[in-house]
């Protein structure tokens, strides 16, 4: 294809220009870096082979022809074709071996790995930081914090259909299959926010099933974990106080948990520290009081078909509940 070199070059321009927080070719984690090396190697070899084939094609089509030496030509062709097939075999054998080694490099989490369970649900991510001590176990949603430079062993489960966990800047993807537990090694070499999104079609809102992986230095991570373990802080401001009352009285509490309050529903995401998260509704909106209000007022317009019903609220209740949500840092 004539266009390819030009497009490849323009790609490089595009990639270097963007922040690339969800990109397989802008890797920031050890597994993704290993894969990116393998990818560039294979792409380079394949491009070269393709160019060779194209040169042969053009030559075969346009060469000057003479009538002499038909017999010798057939023999020469047999040799050439055999050699080309042999070369193909050697090249693919090389790629297969390179692929094996890369698989080995990205497979197994080290001893000191932090284990996180991610459970896929239509259409959000439940994230559980389990601890042998149940009091230290906590959960969050659609946002995963990890310490930089440490192996993270992600256990992948699904409560409904098949999803796929994919944070391309950090690692390749792995499916979440109902009835099974899969695992994935995640590791960030540099602090940053890495976006990921469900890669396996999982129904109506497959499109809006994103999550953020926030890699931070170990101290910040520890601070975050301590804060997340705690129960929700009781609101101070009057509108948030009224919002808490409304939240518990209305159907909200039937689906959502806010630890430290009577709200103990488990159908929807745990909202204990929802105000501390970067986004709501699985990466759909940035967390602000306005976006919270918009989401609570009409989730079906923003994310049609999702499992959160529209709960009839007065405008005052809506304002108060949004204030309460925002206060849950």
């Amino acid at each position: 294809m004539r266009m390819s070199p030009i497009i490849w070059m323009s790609t490089i321009a595009i990639i270097s220009g963007c922040t690339g927080n969800q990109s397989a070719i802008n890797p920031k984690g050890a597994p993704a870096i290993h894969i990116a090396h393998l990818m560039s190697g294979i792409v380079a070899v394949c491009t070269l082979v393709w160019l060779l084939v194209m040169v042969m094609l053009v030559w075969a089509l346009l060469r000057k022809r003479s009538d002499a030496g038909e017999q010798a030509r057939e023999r020469g062709l047999t040799t050439t074709v055999s050699a080309a097939v042999g070369a193909t075999a050697v090249i693919i054998a090389g790629m297969t071996i390179a692929s094996f080694y890369t698989t080995r490099d990205i497979g197994i989490p080290g001893e000191a790995a932090l284990t996180i369970t991610v459970r896929g649900q239509q259409w959000w991510w439940q994230v559980i930081y389990a601890d042998p001590d149940p009091a230290l176990t906590f959960q969050t949603a659609n946002e995963i914090h990890i310490p930089v430079g440490r192996d993270v062993h992600v256990q992948l489960e699904s409560t409904d259909v098949v999803h796929s966990f994919w944070v391309p800047s950090l690692a390749g993807k792995q499916d979440l299959v109902p009835g099974r537990t899969n695992s994935l090694l995640l590791r960030a070499e540099r602090p940053g926010i890495y976006r990921g999104q469900c890669a396996e079609f999982c129904g109506l809102q497959h499109t809006h099933m994103a999550m953020m992986v926030i890699a931070e230095d170990p101290e910040s991570f520890e601070r975050w974990a301590v804060a997340q373990r705690g129960n929700s802080v009781n609101p101070g401001k009057p509108d948030a106080v009224a919002g808490q009352v409304a939240f518990i009285a209305k159907p909200c509490a039937a689906c959502h948990t806010v630890r430290g309050t009577p709200a103990m529903g488990t159908t929807g995401p745990d909202l204990t520290h929802v105000g501390s998260r970067k986004t709501i509704a699985a990466g759909l909106l940035e967390t602000t009081r306005g976006s919270l209000a918009a989401w609570i007022a009409d989730p079906q317009t923003l994310k049609p078909g999702n499992n959160m019903p529209m709960v009839p609220l007065t405008s005052v209740e809506l304002k108060n509940i949004s204030a309460y949500m925002e206060s849950l840092k």
Binding site: E74, G179, Q205
Partner: protein
């Protein structure tokens, strides 16, 4: 009335050419009128119907893809909502795979294989008629369901549990599963017919090493269909049972297994790719031979490559499941086997290159499409090697990279050769030539439009854009390329539009074609364009791979067949030595009734399992009518 009318058991040896043609025509021709059209078993009429229907589905599927490109051109567009979008991409994939790609390849074979092997009709011609009606019914079922907002929305692979009773309420997933049954039945029927035609009805003397490569490719493809389709048949039946009568094949909570579905589906799904690609290999070989004015280099190697590809095709399915969490060692095996398919594919490419190099290329439209095929398919092959690597695949699986990859393989690898094949065989099928100038324009637009549309998708995938999303947020860095892709799709669509216009216009008023306009070497060009109902006045006898080149004066023929009943020659499998005169069934309306009864049963069974009981009554009646001895000479034989 001539004196010969009273002669019992009149043979072709008794007649001169004019009289022979007249009598063969009256024995073999399809009666005029609606009844004749509905009861015909002529492989050419059925093949033509099949081809036209498949191209109608291609056009419909193409319109769906344009709708998707309209939606994706800009971030957060609101032309199509998630519910409709999910139906559209499911319909696009299902339609293109089950209603276009596989049937169109079989359709070409239904038309061409009997001509290429020099016989008068396909084996089991009534089954052939039945298979077309089933295919048409399945296609109508899917599209009517879509038109009334009941189109399947679970992806063309219909992964459980998303397609199971718990998560896919309503009848949409059932429509998908039952449409599969229709296309399975029709594909299996054609596959069996082709195997028997190729094995038992070849022209006397056409030993296995003298079969045209297209026929070889269809033979291998037919075996692939026979072995792959049962897997999807089991899968879709189990899905229907889970949905209809509460079995638990795929429900992990009750001991079922989600990955069982994926294994069964892809055990069919991967060979499916080769079911589409191998016929294209045959088309390419045919076109290359004709337009380089020499036989394809390395005939034996090409045949071996076809067979090797066919066998390897069954050892690759796990590469569709590399991220499903299977054991690493097992995955590594499938990396090796997936990469290994590059060897037979490479061999084929090198043999074509050698043929072109040694031949004298004639740059007509069919050959242009073959050159386009080489350029595009090799890219698809390269990205195929990439996704065969487990680590590489974990990054690009289910992204636009894979969308780009399989369009390079399927459009580049199969549709380009198919369009070339249409330009090539159009004069044989219609008796008229397509327009060379428009053909070049169509090729140029399709080639350019295709690459501009699909190449950037590789990059989108690497940049993290997953498949099957109905929109994306403006902060993702994808909007520029998506707009570019959508605009390029317009060029591609214009190319196809031009192709369709040319085909329709040429069929109506193109220049009349001679018997062999391309100076080709295979048997289908030995008869008139279009061929008479009986294909050949006298049965050709073959002594080489290129009968029309090596016998440029006159083709030797065999004689001794009856002319007052439908008869053809049955030959031995390996050497094609004549074994018997065999009668070939005449026209019958019963295949249509049987197909209708089957259709009623299958559609009814979407709603109640009792349909299988009560629906079998009309089906039994129809089949009884089909097989009831009618006392004709064809029956007696």
């Amino acid at each position: 009335m001539t004196p010969l009318d009273n002669v019992a058991d009149l043979r072709d040896t008794d007649l001169n050419d004019v009289e022979l043609d007249r009598r063969l025509a009256s024995t073999w021709a399809t009666p005029k009128g609606v009844w004749g059209a509905l009861s015909t078993v002529d492989h050419k009429i059925i093949g033509r119907r099949y081809i036209i229907t498949a191209f109608v589905f291609l056009a419909l599927g193409g319109i769906l893809s344009l709708a998707m490109r309209l939606q994706l051109a800009q971030p957060e567009a609101r032309f199509i909502g998630p519910d409709r979008y999910n139906q559209i991409f499911t319909m696009h994939g299902t339609n293109m795979m089950f209603l276009f790609a596989v049937p169109v390849m079989e359709a070409m074979a239904v038309y061409l294989v009997p001509l290429m092997v020099g016989t008068r009709n396909i084996a089991f011609p009534r089954l052939n008629a039945f298979s077309y009606w089933m295919y048409l019914a399945g296609g109508l079922l899917l599209w009517i369901a879509f038109a009334i907002d009941t189109g399947p929305d679970v992806g063309w692979f219909a992964d459980v549990p998303l397609s199971g009773p718990q998560y896919a309420a309503g009848k949409r997933a059932d429509i998908w599963a039952q449409m599969i049954t229709f296309t399975e039945v029709s594909a299996l029927a054609v596959a069996v017919e082709l195997v028997v035609t190729v094995f038992k009805q070849r022209a006397p003397g056409m030993s296995l090493d003298q079969i045209p490569l297209f026929v070889w490719s269809m033979l291998v493809t037919s075996f692939l269909i026979i072995m792959a389709m049962p897997a999807i048949m089991i899968a879709s039946t189990a899905l229907i049972l889970d949905r209809l009568v509460g079995t638990q094949f795929f429900n992990p909570a009750e001991g079922g297994d989600v990955l069982l579905w994926q294994h069964l589906f892809w055990f069919f799904g991967h060979p499916e790719v080769y079911i589409i690609f191998l016929p294209a290999v045959g088309m390419v070989s045919t076109i290359v031979a004709t337009f380089t004015r020499r036989p394809v280099f390395g005939y034996l190697g090409m045949v071996m490559a076809l067979i090797a590809t066919g066998i390897l095709a069954f050892g690759l399915w796990v590469h569709h499941m590399f991220v499903a969490g299977l054991p690493r060692l097992g995955e590594s095996f499938f990396t090796a086997s997936s990469m290994a398919i590059a060897i037979p594919s490479g061999l084929q490419i090198f043999c074509w290159l050698a043929t072109i190099w040694a031949g004298r290329p004639v740059f007509k439209t069919p050959f242009l499409f073959v050159i386009g095929f080489m350029v595009i398919f090799v890219i698809g092959g390269m990205t195929g090697v990439m996704v065969a690597s487990v680590p590489f695949d974990t990054q690009v699986h289910d992204t636009y990279f894979v969308v780009a990859h399989f369009h390079y393989v399927l459009v580049g690898g199969a549709v380009f050769p198919l369009l070339g094949a249409i330009y090539y065989w159009f004069p044989k099928i219609t008796g008229r030539m397509m327009n060379e100038t428009i053909g070049r324009w169509a090729f140029g637009l399709i080639f350019t439009g295709f690459n501009l549309t699909f190449f950037p998708m590789h990059i989108l995938g690497l940049q993290g854009m997953p498949r099957r999303i109905y929109t994306y947020q403006p902060e993702m860095p994808w909007s520029g390329l998506n707009m570019f892709v959508s605009l390029s799709a317009v060029i591609l669509a214009a190319g196809f539009l031009l192709f369709f216009i040319d085909a329709i216009r040429s069929a109506l008023s193109g220049p009349v074609a001679p018997a062999n306009p391309w100076c080709a070497s295979t048997l289908e060009w030995a008869t008139s364009s279009p061929p008479p109902a009986y294909n050949f006045s006298r049965m050709p006898v073959v002594g080489s791979l290129e009968p029309l080149v090596d016998n440029s004066g006159a083709l030797p023929v065999a004689s001794g067949l009856f002319v007052d009943r439908r008869e053809l020659v049955v030959t031995s499998v390996v050497g094609a030595l004549p074994e018997a005169r065999e009668s070939s069934p005449g026209d019958s309306i019963w295949p249509l009734w049987s197909a209708l009864a089957t259709t009623v049963l299958l559609i009814w069974s979407i709603f109640t399992p009792w349909a299988v009981v009560w629906g079998s009554v009309p089906l039994a009646i129809a089949l009884t009518g089909w097989f009831w001895p009618k006392g004709t000479k064809e029956d007696d034989a």
